[in-house]
Each structure stands twice: as structure tokens, then as C-alpha cells.
């Protein structure tokens, strides 16, 4: 292609929306309509880009961050050999959640459910409105967790694949806490904080015990309602020197 001045001039004319014959410029209405059309196209492209951002890019960023933190936690576990109290590392995460039926690998669990925490591609345990009872304390209570359904790692994306009887395993430095799903609430109000109770009555329980609660939003891609899965502690297995996963995770 020759880059002459003539060539450029030709292209300038050609790119004009509607060069009227005789050098007449397009009328004011035609111009307004054309600008309006371009604005509509721009809006459409912007929305499409936002979808790409929220369903793809946030996952890329979040997974990258979560992997880095998970490595840190594993390193930390490998370095500290004393098993006294206070060995729990809450800064980078307290452990990993394995839900084989969600097919999402090991999800790092961190403190808090604010967007700043959850956006890093982790599951967070509740501090507010009701504080989660960590299984490491050994006390009766509810280990309540939340994670994103879409975007930001989408760690609970496949929560609808979890069935009653499926295992949920929480891994800490010293123990595997094996839970079994006993109740599912596919849709509830986002104000329904009772699902986080120490004894979640809606799940059918009336006595204190060691429970785990997973919450996320539903239906997918929106946050109209909340999806809740409840599990109960079946057993605690000591971590051996090879970190052999419990039978529930071997399949």
C-alpha cells in the first residue's frame, strides 16, 4: 500500500458516514442519529466487556492470588512442627475445604466474609452477623462459610451438584474434619441469618453438635437468593506424615 497524501485523503473521504454528492455535509438530524447509534453500540460493547470481566478475568486474578496464599499456608505448615495451641495461622488462611462433589479442588479458608476477603478466590468463615465456631476449637457450634458462585474464583459454583450424604472435608495442619451433608436449602432470603445459628433449626436439627454451613448466592449469575448446604461432623482424622487424604477424598 502506497502511503501517499492522495491515498490518505481518499480514505478520509471514504470513512465519512455519508458524504453527500457535491461536497454537502450530512444534515444535523443524520449526524445526531449517527452519534446516537454509535453510543448504543458503545454501550453494548461495554456491557459485553463487563461480562467478560466478571465471569473470566476476576477468576484469573482470584485464582492467582488464592494459589499464592495456599502455597504460603502449606509452607507455613511444613515449617512449624510444634502442635501446641496458637499454631493456627489465621493471617493467610486457616485451612482447606474439600468438597469432591463440587469438583473445585482445595479451597483456601480465610477469616471473614467481606468482599476484600472473598474476592481473592477463597471461602471465608463468618464473623458477622454470627461468628463461626471453628472446628479446631472442638466446641459445639456451626462452622459457617461463604464463597462466590461466579467470578472471583467461583469456588462454590457447583454447590447445586452437592447431594445429601456427600462428604465435605476441612483440612487443617493437624486434622481432617470429615463432615457429611444432611440438609440442603436451595433458596432462601438473603436476610435469613438463622441458617447460621449454632443449631440451625431449618436444617432439622434441635440439639447442639458440630455443624458446617456453606452459603452462596443463587440463581447463578445473580444474588437474588441464598443457597445453603448443611453438614454434620462424622469424624476427625489425624494428619499422618504423608498427609494421606481420608477415604472420602480418594476416588
Amino acid at each position: 500500500m502506497a502511503a501517499t497524501a492522495d491515498d490518505t485523503a481518499e480514505h478520509t473521504d471514504a470513512s465519512d458516514p455519508s458524504p453527500a454528492p457535491g461536497g454537502r455535509r450530512p444534515g444535523r438530524i443524520a449526524k445526531t442519529v449517527s452519534v446516537f447509534g454509535e453510543l448504543l453500540i458503545t454501550a453494548g460493547v461495554l456491557l459485553a466487556l463487563f461480562v467478560v470481566y466478571s465471569l473470566w478475568w476476576t477468576n484469573v486474578i482470584a485464582d492467582r492470588k488464592a494459589d499464592k496464599r495456599a502455597d504460603k499456608v502449606r509452607d507455613h505448615w511444613a515449617q512449624t512442627t510444634d502442635s501446641g495451641p496458637g499454631a493456627l495461622d489465621t493471617k493467610d488462611g486457616i485451612g482447606f475445604l474439600h468438597v469432591p462433589s463440587m469438583k473445585n479442588g482445595a479451597v483456601l479458608v480465610e477469616k471473614g466474609t467481606g468482599t476484600d476477603v472473598l474476592n481473592d478466590g477463597v471461602a471465608g468463615y463468618y464473623l458477622d452477623p454470627a461468628k463461626a465456631t471453628l472446628p479446631t476449637t472442638g466446641k459445639d457450634g456451626n462452622f459457617t462459610l461463604a464463597a462466590h458462585r461466579d467470578g472471583h474464583g467461583a469456588k462454590f459454583h457447583n454447590i447445586d451438584k452437592v447431594r445429601t450424604g456427600d462428604p465435605i472435608v476441612f483440612e487443617t495442619r493437624d486434622n481432617w474434619y470429615v463432615y457429611k451433608v444432611y440438609s440442603i436449602l436451595p433458596e432462601t432470603s438473603k436476610y435469613n441469618v438463622k441458617v447460621l445459628s449454632a443449631v440451625p433449626k431449618e436444617s432439622g436439627k434441635t440439639k447442639p453438635g458440630h455443624y458446617i454451613t456453606l452459603t452462596t448466592c443463587t440463581p447463578v449469575y445473580t444474588s437474588e437468593y441464598r443457597y445453603v448446604v448443611w453438614g454434620e461432623l462424622v469424624r476427625v482424622q489425624k494428619v499422618d506424615s504423608k498427609r494421606t487424604p481420608p477415604a472420602e477424598l480418594q476416588s
Binding site: L49, F50, S54, G151, Y191, E224
Partner: protein, 53 residues
């Protein structure tokens, strides 16, 4: 609007196309890095916790 930008870019058609591409990439970068992270919490798509507010 876009025609106006195109006409005000310097160089021949290839240079203009290259500059346009760079402009588009710059806009996407600004959107992904600053605008969308700001807009996201304002939109009701990604609230996963139950609370009483």
C-alpha cells in the same frame, strides 16, 4: 464520533489502524483495572453472604 477520531489521527491508514488498536487496548485496560472493580460492588450480582442489613 468514531469517524471524528479516525479523521483526527495522524498518518496513513495503517498507522491510524495501529493507533486505533492501541487506543482500544488502553480503554480496555482502564476498564478492567479501574472502572469495573469500582462498579462491581454497586451491582447486585455477587453478594454471597446472609446478613441482616
Amino acid at each position: 464520533m468514531y469517524g471524528w477520531i479516525w479523521r483526527h489521527l495522524p498518518g496513513n491508514v495503517w498507522v491510524r489502524a495501529l493507533i486505533s488498536l492501541l487506543l482500544v487496548l488502553a480503554v480496555i485496560y482502564v476498564l478492567f483495572q479501574y472502572v469495573f472493580p469500582w462498579a462491581e460492588p454497586l451491582l447486585p450480582f455477587n453478594d454471597v453472604t446472609v446478613d441482616n442489613q
